[in-house]
């Protein structure tokens, strides 16, 4: 039974308490498994957005596809599902995670541009390849970001 009226600890007890806190954070970081299905869902959203280039008409009359907003909403829903599946809402994810998220945005933009170029060249079928690349890159980078957030929690 725990004593609810704690007195000031000794130096050794205080050090042990601080060690326990580090051990708890490490235990959480070790116990959490990256939700691979939901990371792949992020990849699916990226692939869907890049594939939107196939229905665009590059040139003077180009109008950006509206799939971007839908993809953003779905990505936010997936992020919410990740929180609920794992049971942790991170306060900060660490520089590596933010780098991975920036890399997702930049690579998807690059792949979308390449896709528009392919469509303009009459190679619409090749958008399948850029979409697959977006899926693979985003799934991998989302996993990198999540593992980085867990490491950040361990080191805090």
């Amino acid at each position: 039974m725990e004593n609810d009226s704690p007195i000031r600890p000794s130096a050794r007890e205080a050090a042990a308490s601080l060690d326990d806190l580090a051990a708890d954070r490490a235990a959480v970081a070790d116990a959490v498994r990256v939700p691979r299905g939901l990371m792949a869902a992020f990849g699916g959203v990226a692939a869907y957005w890049v594939a939107g280039a196939a229905s665009a008409t590059p040139g003077v009359n180009y109008e950006p596809p509206t799939t971007g907003w839908l993809a953003l909403v779905v990505a936010l829903v997936i992020a919410h599902l990740v929180h609920r599946e794992v049971g942790i809402r991170f306060r900060t994810m660490g520089a590596k995670a933010y780098g991975a998220l920036a890399a997702i945005v930049l690579s998807c933009l690059a792949l979308f541009s390449v896709s528009l170029g392919l469509v303009a060249s009459g190679l619409t079928w090749a958008v399948v390849l850029t979409s697959l690349a977006a899926f693979a890159l985003t799934t991998w980078l989302a996993g990198v970001a999540y593992r980085s957030a867990l490491e950040q929690l361990r080191r805090a």
């Binding site: 600890p9 205080a14 308490s17 708890d24 609920r84 809402r89 306060r91 805090a156």
Partner: protein, 101 residues
């Protein structure tokens, strides 16, 4: 930078560990906390009530994916006051532990 201040509410071992787990996250599920600390639901609830009454912790319920019934998951998070009191308490512990570090 907060000043070192020993807080008797937080210092009880389970409560200190609860705050330690919550300090770097926005929220943690009740079940994750319980499993990490290896305590019963009743024990965790008792300590969360003490921390909530002190204004250090907030509890928020939301629907659970894992449950098909009406039960909900409970998110636990530190308040701004809880964070500053915990930080001051950790500084106090570090000062006390200084001689053995």
């Amino acid at each position: 930078m907060p000043e070192a201040r020993f807080d008797e509410v937080i210092h009880a071992p389970v409560r200190l560990r609860i705050c330690g787990l919550l300090r770097r996250v926005d929220g943690m599920d009740f079940g994750v906390l319980r499993d990490t600390l290896s305590v019963t639901d009743a024990t965790l609830s008792k300590h969360l009530k003490t921390l909530t009454d002190a204004g250090y912790v907030t509890l928020k319920k939301s629907a659970s994916l894992a449950r098909s019934d009406a039960r909900r998951m409970t998110w636990v998070g530190l308040t701004a006051d809880g964070r500053s009191v915990f930080d001051a308490h950790i500084l106090a512990l570090r000062e006390i532990a200084g001689s053995v570090e």
